[in-house]
C-alpha cells in the first residue's frame, strides 16, 4: 500500500497555523471558564473546576504546539483521496443544506426542511434536476416523519405554520 502513497509526494500545503490558534483560543475559553466555577469548600478531593482547568491547559499547550508545527511547515497532511480539486461552490451548497434547518425547522417543520436540505446537498453534488430532487427530499422527509412518529419519536409538527 505504501508504494503508491509514497510515490505520490504530498504537495506542500498552506501552513494552517490558524488550526492551532483556534485550539489555543478554545483552551483559553476553558481556562477562563474554570475561574467562574465556584469551588465547593466542603468537598474533599478535586472540585468541579479542576478538570475544566486541566483540559483548558491541555488545549492551550496543544494549540501552541500545533501552531509551531504548522509555522515550521512540518504539518504534512496527506489527503490521498482528493482526486478532484476542492470546489468552493459545491462546498457552500452542501453547507447551506446543513444550515437551512436552522432557519426552517421550527417554522416549516421537518418534511419541508428535509426537502430543502436534500435539494441543496444534491445540488452541491452536481445534480441539476432540482424539481425531482425537491420531490425526493419531500417524500424522504415525510416518510421519515411518519415512520418515526409511528415509533413514538416526535419530529415536531408536520407543517407547524398550518398547525
Amino acid at each position: 500500500m505504501s508504494g503508491a502513497e509514497q510515490a505520490r509526494r504530498p504537495e506542500p500545503r498552506r501552513r494552517p497555523w490558524w488550526l492551532g490558534l483556534a485550539l489555543a483560543v478554545m483552551g483559553a475559553l476553558w481556562l477562563n471558564g474554570a475561574r467562574g466555577i465556584a469551588s465547593t469548600t466542603n468537598y474533599i478531593g478535586l472540585g468541579p473546576a479542576a478538570i475544566v482547568l486541566a483540559v483548558g491547559l491541555g488545549l492551550t499547550i496543544l494549540g501552541v504546539l500545533l501552531m509551531l508545527q504548522a509555522l515550521r511547515g512540518e504539518f504534512g497532511t496527506v489527503d490521498d483521496e482528493a482526486e478532484a480539486p476542492p470546489s468552493r461552490r459545491a462546498f457552500l451548497f452542501a453547507l447551506a443544506g446543513v444550515a437551512v434547518p436552522l432557519l426552517t425547522m421550527q417554522s416549516l417543520g421537518f418534511p419541508v426542511t428535509a426537502m430543502l436540505a436534500f435539494a441543496l446537498v444534491t445540488h452541491g453534488f452536481g445534480s441539476r434536476r432540482t424539481i425531482l430532487d425537491l420531490a425526493i427530499g419531500f417524500v424522504l422527509g415525510s416518510a421519515a416523519w411518519f415512520g418515526f412518529s409511528g415509533l413514538g419519536i416526535s419530529l415536531g409538527g408536520f407543517l407547524p405554520l398550518i398547525g
Binding site: 476553558w30 478535586l46 475544566v52 496527506v78 451548497f93 446543513v98 434547518p101
Partner: protein, 506 residues
C-alpha cells in the same frame, strides 16, 4: 458448565422471533452501510439511537451487533469489486481482492472473504463467550483508581494509535474531553461551560457530536472534492467459485487471522485496522506463493478479512466487561447502553444476564445470517452502488437531521450539528482522527468521576493513583504507549543518519 447454561439462556432470548427479526434487520442494514461509502456502523447506530426509546434493550443491542458485524461483510464486498473500501478495516482486502476481481476471480475472493469472516466471527465470538465472564470477574476487584488508570491508558493509546500524528491525536482527544465537561457536574451540581445556555445544562449529546463529525463532515468533504466520474463495477460473470486449491490456501489464513484479530481487538485501542495490516504482512511472509502478492493472492484476502471480524468480536470484550470503548463504534454502543440507564461492566453480567447473553448468542446467529445474506445475494448488495452519489449523501443529511432533531427537537442541537459538522470537515481535510474525540467525550466524564472518587477516598492523597499494582502497571503502560513511539522514531532516525554518514564521507 455455568457459561454454557448462560449461553443456552442467551440463545433462548436471541431465538425469539422478534429478536431474530431485529438481528436480520441489523445484518441487512449493516451490510448495506458497509457497501455504501461514507456511512459506517458507528454512524448508523448513532442515527438509530432515537429508536432505543421504543425498543427493548435486548432487541436493540441484537440489532446493533448485527450492524457491527454486517458492516465488515459489506465493506469487503466493495473493497473487492470496486477497490473502494467501505470501511477502514477493509483497506487491506482491497489490495489482493480487487486484483483477483480484475482477473475474473471476484467470486472466489468474495467467497473466501465471506467464509473467512464467518469462521473468524465465530472463533472470536467463542473467545468472547469464555473470556468475557472471566474478565468481568477480575474487574470486580477494580477500585476507582484502577478504573481511572485504565481510562488514562485508553486515552493515550487511542490518541497514539489513531491518526498519523501524535499531536493531532491528542488535539482530537482534548477537544472531546473539553466537550465532555460541558453541562452540570454530576457530583456537585455545579454548571460548567454552558455559556449561559439552558440547553447545554444536560451536556452535549453524544449522538449530535458523532453524527455531525462523521456524517456532516464527510458530506461536506465529499461534496467539495467530488469528481463526477462514476465508479466502474468489475463484472462478476466468468468468475468461478473457490476451487479446491483455494480452500486449501484459505483455511490457514482464516484461522491465523482470527488468532491475530481477536486479542488486538480486545486491547484498549485495538480497532479493526491494525490486525488486518499484521495479518496481511504475516500471510505474505508465510505464503508459498509470495510472487502472487500484489497480483491477487487469495491468502491476502482470507487473512485480513478474518482478522477484522475477529477484532470486531474482540472490541466487545473491554466494552462489555469494563465499559471501555476502544473504537468509534464501541463508543456509540456504550452511549446506547447509557441511554437505557445501563453501565456496561462487571455488574451488568450479574444484573442483566438476559441482555448480555442474548447479545452474545445473537452474534453466533448474526454470523450465520450474514453468511447467508452475503454469499448468494452479493449481486444485490452491489446494486446499492448504482444509487447516484448525490442521493446517498442527500439521504445521509436527511437522516442526520432525523437523528439530531429527533433527540429533543432542539434548535441548539441543529446549530451544534452545523458547527461541529464544519469542524468535522476541517478534521477530515487536515487529517485529525475522529475516534479520540468520541472516546474523550464519553470516557472523560467517567474518568473524572473515578479520579475524584479515588481522591475523596484517599483524603486528597495523590499517591493513591499508583496505590494498587493494577493501577500502577496500567499507568506505566500508558506512559510507555506515549513515550515509546517517538523514542523508536528518534533512534531509527539516528541509525539512519549514522548509516548515511559513511556514504557521504566516501
Amino acid at each position: 458448565m455455568d457459561i454454557l447454561n448462560q449461553l443456552i439462556g442467551g440463545f433462548a432470548v436471541a431465538l425469539q422471533p422478534i429478536n431474530l427479526f431485529w438481528a436480520f434487520v441489523g445484518c441487512a442494514l449493516g451490510t448495506a452501510v458497509g457497501v455504501l461509502p461514507g456511512i459506517g456502523p458507528a454512524l448508523t447506530i448513532a442515527l438509530l439511537m432515537p429508536v432505543t426509546a421504543q425498543v427493548n434493550p435486548a432487541s436493540a443491542f441484537i440489532m446493533f451487533a448485527g450492524i457491527l458485524y454486517g458492516a465488515l461483510y459489506g465493506g469487503s464486498t466493495t473493497s473487492i469489486l470496486l477497490n473502494t473500501p467501505g470501511e477502514s478495516g477493509s483497506v487491506m482486502t482491497a489490495l489482493e481482492g480487487n486484483r483477483m476481481a480484475r482477473t475474473g476471480r471476484g467470486a472466489a475472493a468474495l467467497a473466501t472473504a465471506a467464509i473467512g469472516s464467518f469462521v473468524a466471527g465465530t472463533v472470536g465470538t467463542l473467545a468472547l463467550t469464555f473470556l468475557a465472564p472471566a474478565i468481568a470477574e477480575l474487574a470486580f476487584v477494580f477500585g476507582p483508581e484502577d478504573y481511572f488508570a485504565l481510562m488514562v491508558l485508553s486515552f493515550t493509546s487511542v490518541a497514539v494509535v489513531m491518526g498519523r500524528s501524535l499531536l493531532r491525536g491528542f488535539a482530537s482527544l482534548f477537544f472531546g474531553l473539553a466537550l465532555g465537561t460541558i453541562g452540570i457536574d454530576t457530583q456537585t451540581g455545579q454548571t460548567r461551560m454552558v455559556f449561559g445556555m439552558l440547553e447545554l445544562l444536560d451536556g452535549i449529546s453524544f449522538t449530535v457530536v458523532l453524527v455531525s463529525l462523521f456524517a456532516i463532515g464527510e458530506t461536506l468533504y465529499v461534496a467539495s472534492r467530488h469528481s463526477s466520474a462514476p465508479a466502474a463495477i468489475n463484472p462478476l460473470s466468468g468468475g468461478h467459485w473457490m476451487t479446491r486449491q483455494d480452500w486449501v490456501r484459505s483455511w490457514k489464513p482464516w484461522l491465523r487471522g482470527s488468532v491475530i484479530g481477536f486479542p488486538i481487538g480486545a486491547l484498549p485501542a485495538g480497532g479493526t485496522e491494525i490486525p488486518t495490516f499484521l495479518s496481511y504482512a504475516l500471510e505474505r511472509r508465510l505464503s508459498k506463493h509470495p510472487e502472487e502478492f500484489g497480483q491477487g493472492a487469495i491468502e491476502g484476502v482470507a487473512g485480513p478479512e478474518a482478522a477484522n471480524n475477529a477484532a470486531a468480536a474482540g472490541i466487545l470484550v473491554p466494552l462489555l466487561t469494563l465499559g471501555l470503548p476502544s473504537t468509534a463504534t464501541a463508543a456509540v454502543l456504550l452511549a446506547a447502553f447509557q441511554n437505557y440507564g445501563l453501565q456496561p461492566g462487571p455488574m451488568l453480567f450479574a444484573t442483566n444476564p438476559d441482555l448480555l447473553w442474548g447479545l452474545i448468542a445473537s452474534l453466533y446467529i448474526g454470523n450465520l445470517i450474514l453468511l447467508v445474506l452475503n454469499l448468494p445475494l452479493v449481486g444485490i448488495w452491489v446494486r446499492l452502488l448504482l444509487i447516484p452519489r448525490q442521493y446517498i449523501y442527500g439521504g445521509i443529511v436527511v437522516f442526520a437531521l432525523v437523528g439530531v432533531w429527533g433527540l429533543s427537537t432542539s434548535w441548539v442541537d441543529l446549530a451544534l450539528m452545523c458547527g461541529l459538522g464544519l469542524i468535522g470537515y476541517i478534521a477530515r481535510v487536515y487529517d485529525f482522527p475522529i475516534a479520540p474525540v468520541l472516546i474523550g467525550l464519553i470516557l472523560g466524564p467517567q474518568a473524572e468521576i473515578q479520579l475524584r472518587r479515588a481522591l475523596a477516598v484517599s483524603q486528597d492523597d495523590w499517591s493513591v493513583l499508583v496505590g494498587t499494582p493494577i493501577s500502577a502497571s496500567l499507568l506505566g503502560i500508558a506512559a510507555l504507549v506515549l513515550i515509546l513511539p517517538p523514542l523508536l522514531a528518534y533512534r531509527r532516525r539516528r541509525a539512519e543518519l549514522r548509516s548515511a554518514e559513511p556514504v557521504s564521507a566516501n
